[in-house]
Structures are given as structure tokens and as C-alpha cells.
Amino acid sequence: MNQTATNAIDHDLIARFKAGSMEAMEEIVERYEKRIFTFGLKMCGHLQDAEDIVQETFLNAFRYLGRFREETKLKNWLFKIATRACIRKRRKKKCEPDYEISLESFVHENGSDIKYEIPDLSDDPSDNVLRAELKQMIDAAIQSLPHKYRLVFNLRDTEGFNTEETSEILGISVQSVKTRLHRARLFLREKISGHYMEG
């Protein structure tokens, strides 16, 4: 089968890497390091852990890229490796076990007066301090998501993978992706709104 899932630029870079080009390796890093770093930081919450995730992802990727058959996009394959690195990191740290987020916890009985305070992100550069505070609060809220919900949320809403791609990257069903994403979003809305309503 000649058809590949990678785009033309990645396809060319992979071919050059397989032919022994150091430059191609560096171009692949340049294309994806920021996104893998963002993912690592959103998953682990610490710079050092995020660096470990980036290093491990690219080291493993280039170890096996020679055998990569381009049946999936390069970006998706890299995120699959990064996801495994995050799961390994979590196991090593012996974190608390995951807990389930219940949908019922977001159902407010007699809740017609429920209001959510969700702030706007201003484009005004003079609001940089407020933007930074808002970002810090949102990052903390994402960190407080249970790990398996955080994985889905970060892949879907931060990295922009679709439901099927996320299902493939994580090796879980499409329905599980949808369920976890919905609960993660509701959880984050409560956290963000709660923060602003407390003042």
C-alpha cells in the first residue's frame, strides 16, 4: 500500500531521516517540540517533568522512526509516545489512584438560578497581569483533573485531536473519550466559575 497518513512535509522529513539526515531529525524536533512540551507540562505540571517527557518522546521516536510505516500521522504517533511517557512518569511517582468524576455531581436540582461566572480573555496588552493570573488558575484547574480525564481533555481541547484520533492515541473507545471529555469540561467549568464567584 503506497498511501500514507502523514502529510507531504512530514513524509519528506521521514524519508530524509531514514536516509541518514541529521538536519531532518532537527526539523522534526522544530516542528513538534513546542506541542509535546505543552502537553507534557499540562499533564505533569512541572517544568522538569515536561522536559523528561519531551526528551523521552523524541529519543524513542528517533529510535523507532526507521520502522515507522506512516499508517498514522507523524504528529499522532509522537503524541502516542508522549502519552505513554506521561503514564510511565505517573507510575514512577506513585501518585494517588485516579477517581471517577460523576456526571450527577454537576446536576443541580431545582437549579434554575444557577449562574456560572466565566471570565473573558482580554486582548488588551495592558491586561497581561490578569491574563497571567487567569492562565495560572486554569492550569491549576487542569492539574486537579484526575489523570485519565486530564489526558483526554489535553488531547482533545488543548491539542485539537478529534475524538477518533484521541481514541486511537489512548487505546480507549470513542465513547470513553466522549464521556471523559464531557465530564472534564464540566469539572473545569465548575472550578473556573467557583474561583471567580469566590472573588
Binding site: 531521516f17 541518514g20 539526515s21 541529521m22 531529525m25 532537527e26 524536533v29 517540540e33 513546542k34 512540551f37 505543552t38 507540562l41 499540562k42 517544568l47 515536561a50 522536559e51 519531551v54 526528551q55 523524541f58 529519543l59 528517533f62 456526571l103 454537576f106 446536576v107 443541580h108 436540582e109 437549579g111 434554575s112 444557577i114 449562574k115 456560572y116 466565566i118 471570565p119 473573558d120 480573555l121 491574563r131 487567569l134 492562565k135 486554569i138 492550569d139 487542569i142 481533555f153 481541547d157 488543548t158 475524538t163 466522549k178 471529555l181 464531557h182 469540561r185 464540566l186 473545569l188 467549568r189 473556573i192 466559575s193
Partner: protein, 81 residues
């Protein structure tokens, strides 16, 4: 929340993501027209998703980028040129 609204509440994310068929969308939209609580739920969820997306990007520190390149060169220089 009314019992009828709960079944729509479960599918709001799928609705926002455009993952529901036409019939399911119409059911949700009919409910939104008559239920201010569900409408508020939809708007606030949409807004918080957008906010998380807008604050999502991180900058990788320059020293970290340098260390990554240096490690990769060390590991693969024997088979790349």
C-alpha cells in the same frame, strides 16, 4: 434540573463538537428554546472550553531546547550525518 433536561445535559459536549446527528441536534435545540437553565449551561460550558483553549499554549525555555538538541545529537550522531 428537570428529568427531560438530564438526557440532553449528557450530550451537550457532543452537540458543541458537532458530533450529533440532525435529529439529536433538533431535540437539544428545542429543549434550549424552552429551558433557560440548559441555555445557561450550554453558554457557560462553551465559554469555559474557549477560555481553556486560549490559555493552552506554552513556551519551551531556550535552555531546554538546547539540551534536547544536544542529547539527540549525542544519541544519533553515529548513524546520521
Amino acid at each position: 434540573m428537570k428529568e427531560d433536561c438530564k438526557k440532553h445535559f449528557k450530550r451537550i459536549s457532543e452537540y458543541l463538537d458537532g458530533e450529533l446527528d440532525e435529529r439529536a441536534c433538533k431535540e437539544i435545540e428545542a429543549n434550549l428554546e424552552k429551558c433557560p437553565e440548559c441555555l445557561e449551561c450550554l453558554h457557560s460550558l462553551k465559554k469555559s472550553i474557549q477560555l481553556c483553549k486560549e490559555t493552552g499554549e506554552e513556551e519551551m525555555p531556550a535552555d531546554m531546547r538546547d539540551r534536547l538538541r544536544s542529547n539527540l545529537r549525542d544519541c544519533f550522531s553515529h548513524k546520521l550525518k
